[in-house]
């Protein structure tokens, strides 16, 4: 339904126009007999188009049109002119009228033409408006694109700064480690030399303890090398069976039976140091598990998640220590193994906790959320 304002000083003509246009049910026509009155109406009521006669007392159609354009009104404007008044029609078009229609002739044909022109003018205006909106949107998008680019650049710069800082810390780490290991070399040698010169048993006993402490320093400092690259590389999809098998190969199990689960194609998205997690779990079992004969890895579905378990048949973990073992500095040796295992897994949202029963062996469950696991080519996950 188009809402049309029709202006003509002849009330009879207005009546006819209204009748014809409203007949099809597509137009709602409001009539007014003067341009001045029309201007007032336009201030308060919204219309889709204006139809105006040219020749009117007080203000003619062209003046009316000029006033509208001057006030910024962009409604489609169709003007009626008398026959043979082409100069008026041209003047109207030059001033922004959309169409002109010559009075006279067959009313049915004339009003059919009028309704077509109104519809066309309204659609054209709508199209122009959309174009304008699009232009504004495009400008806005360009602006946002630029803002986004700036933002991305900033993030990249920050990322680079972090990487540079990381590299520097790593270098510092390397230098300090080098110097400490040099000192430890000297210390171990001097301890051996002293032991060679001393026969007093108490003094020898003390020297052995000093040497043990020196070796512990060596272990701790070597440990910093193993973990210096944590979080440095991008996380990656890794075949769990393969990583566990590699970790097993790096340990010295003695008579212990170590078994990774079968290769079912399970891959998890984890930090490049994932192997250290499995290595640490095995190493911990071997060091602290007490009387144990095997360490077994397995995996199973838990809803959308996957749980990877590492179980042994050793002494197990006391209830009071189940969380403490993940704290930095807890336990013998470096006291960092499980702390770092949790940190490494945490990088890609994998959690780890100890769920075994004291006295029945330790059990570490790693919960891999659905975004962080997938099945590779080899097969299906265990159920």
């Amino acid at each position: 339904m188009y809402s049309v304002l029709c202006v003509d000083d002849e009330p009879r003509l207005l009546e006819v126009t209204k009748l014809f246009l409203e007949d099809g049910g597509k137009f709602k026509v409001t009539t007014t007999t003067s341009a001045r009155e029309a201007l007032e109406r336009l201030n308060t009521v919204p219309y889709d188009a204006i139809i105006s006669d040219y020749q009117m007392p007080g203000m003619d159609g062209i003046e009316f049109l000029k006033k509208l354009k001057a006030s910024g009104n962009t409604l489609p404007f169709i003007i009626f002119t008398g026959r043979g008044r082409e100069e008026v029609a041209i003047d109207a078009l030059n001033n922004g009228a959309d169409f002109y229609i010559q009075k006279g002739g067959d009313p049915t044909a004339q009003f059919a033409e009028l309704s077509d022109k109104i519809r066309y003018a309204v659609s054209k205006r709508q199209y122009e408006k959309n174009l304008e909106v699009n232009e504004v949107l495009e400008k806005e998008m360009k602006f946002h694109e630029l803002e986004l680019l700036k933002y991305i650049t900033e993030i990249k710069q920050m990322d680079e700064a972090i990487h540079t800082a990381n590299r520097k810390l790593n270098l510092l780490n390397r230098i300090i480690r080098h110097d400490i290991l040099n000192t430890v070399t000297g210390l171990l040698g001097l301890e051996d030399m002293a032991m060679n010169h001393i026969s007093d048993q108490d003094a020898l006993h003390l020297l052995r303890e000093i040497k043990d402490s020196t070796r512990l320093i060596q272990e701790q400092i070597t440990f910093t090398r193993d973990y210096q690259d944590i979080g440095l590389g991008e996380p990656q999809w890794q075949n769990v069976h393969r990583v566990i098998s590699d970790a097993i190969r790096q340990t010295s199990p003695g008579n212990m039976h170590l078994s990774a689960m079968a290769d079912d194609g399970l891959e998890i998205f984890a930090d490049a140091m994932l192997i250290k997690v499995f290595y640490n779990l095995i190493d911990n079992a071997l060091r602290h598990g007490g009387k144990l004969s095997k360490v077994t890895f397995s995996s199973h579905r838990d809803g959308d998640n996957i749980i990877i378990s590492c179980r042994d048949d050793g002494d197990g973990i006391a209830d009071s220590e189940k969380e403490k073992i993940f704290e930095s500095g807890f336990g013998k040796n470096t006291g960092q193994g499980l702390f770092l295992a949790r940190e490494i897994l945490n990088i890609t949202g994998i959690s780890i906790k100890e769920t075994g029963k004291t006295g029945e062996g330790a059990r570490f469950d790693m919960l891999v959320p659905k975004e962080a696991w997938r099945l590779g080519k080899t097969g299906k996950a265990n159920n």
Binding site: L181, T185, G186, M193, R225
Partner: protein, 130 residues
């Protein structure tokens, strides 16, 4: 238990390139205890070049980070260019770019610090018997 009296017949002449006094002292002691003759000890690459010609050792035990303008790797490269003397690196660098550079000089052995008698013995024996 170490015993200096055990070193009667020298198993080989070794030039020690090490700028850390204490490490040099214990390396010297360990080598002698194992039966080697430490024919010289220097702290820079330039001195090493000079002594290698003067002393003609059977093997050079080379620390990588040493005093002076050229490090142990450069010194090793230059020695290998001129003389056919086995070189065993002595280093705390067990990874990273330094180790990669060292590998390029095709050394006859690596000893990681901290080392003890057995580490020295195995690496040196292997290098001397190549």
């Amino acid at each position: 238990m170490h015993s200096e009296e055990m070193a009667i017949v020298s198993k080989g002449k070794i030039l020690l390139v090490e700028d850390d006094d204490i490490v040099a002292k214990v390396a010297d002691w360990r080598l002698k205890t194992l039966g080697y003759d430490v024919c010289g000890r220097v702290t820079t690459g330039a001195d090493a070049m000079e002594q290698v010609v003067n002393l003609m050792p059977d093997l050079v035990l080379m620390d990588i980070s040493i005093k002076g303008d050229i490090d142990g790797i450069e010194t090793a490269r230059m020695i290998k260019k001129r003389l056919n003397i086995p070189i065993v690196y002595l280093t705390s660098h067990s990874d990273g770019p330094i180790l990669d550079r060292a590998k390029e000089t095709h050394p006859d052995g690596f000893i990681l610090k901290p080392f003890e008698d057995n580490d020295l013995r195995v690496a040196i024996e292997l290098a001397l018997n190549r």
